[in-house]
């Protein structure tokens, strides 16, 4: 059975917190354990921060969109902004020696670490990121595809 819930949210930090808490509920509802719930919520938080801060740049005229869908034993989460777009091919590796001591740039790395699949789509304008977590599987190496 497929179940989908979606939200349209303001470009604020309050919305980021709401996205995070909603993710915990969605993950619990999909049958994930407490550790996975926390990891999924962190991935959603990081994606929401990217949407609000880097995508929409806190523009009150821009929204970001969050959707949770459970299907075939997986939780599929999409987060879309209305910003200038993101090139996933050119995201610096935060583990590289020259980046290790930087004060930012770890959000997408953490998303990839905690989810099973991560996909980016340029929606012109904006970016949509899809996060997938399969129930009962540990996220060892997140697969990423650009569309």
């Amino acid at each position: 059975m497929t179940k989908r819930v979606s939200y349209s949210l303001e470009s604020t930090l309050e919305s980021v917190n709401k996205a995070e808490s909603t993710a915990v509920e969605a993950a619990a509802g999909a049958g994930f354990n407490e550790d996975d719930q926390g990891n999924i919520a962190m991935a959603v938080r990081e994606a929401a921060v990217n949407a609000v801060l880097h995508g929409n740049a806190y523009d009150p005229n821009k929204k970001f969109f969050l959707a949770f869908e459970t299907r075939d034993g997986s939780l599929v989460i999409t987060i879309a902004d209305q910003g200038k777009g993101l090139d996933p091919e050119h995201i610096p590796d935060p583990l590289a020696p020259e980046n290790l001591m930087k004060g930012s740039g770890r959000g997408i790395f953490l998303i990839r670490a905690f989810m099973d699949e991560v996909k980016f789509r340029n929606t012109e304008p904006g970016t949509e990121i899809t996060l997938i977590k399969h129930v009962g599987r540990k996220a060892a190496n997140a697969k990423e595809e650009s569309q």
Binding site: M42, V49, S104
Partner: protein
């Protein structure tokens, strides 16, 4: 997010509690360390035992704090990481960058 400072054996111990996330938590950490450095405090031990959550912004703030203190020829060390913070520092390869301790007395003894 709350941060309170105390002096122990010439070291400033900052007891932090709550969430270090984009917005308030990161700002509290940044301002606290900036104020200490401005006052000439160069031996800082951040007690993260009651930090319940940290995001990438908070991790970045820890790195920036470490760098700013080191640039003033000071030392910033970490005390009592929760499992979550410990795991995040490990996967971001920062665990070996910081000096991390579980015991306050032992940590205090390592400052030069």
């Amino acid at each position: 997010m709350k941060a309170s400072s105390r002096q122990v054996s010439g070291v400033t111990v900052v007891d932090m509690s709550g969430r270090i996330t984009l917005g308030e938590g990161s700002v509290v950490l940044r301002d606290t360390v900036r104020d200490l450095v401005a006052k000439g405090e160069k031996k800082i031990l951040l007690n993260l035992g009651d930090v319940t959550y940290i995001d990438s912004s908070g991790i970045g703030e820890l790195v920036s704090a470490f760098t700013s203190v080191r640039n003033q020829q000071g030392q910033l060390k970490l005390l009592k990481l929760t499992k979550k913070v410990h795991d995040l520092l490990q996967i971001t390869k920062l665990y070996t960058v910081f000096d991390i301790y579980d015991d306050e007395a032992a940590a205090l003894g390592t400052f030069k």
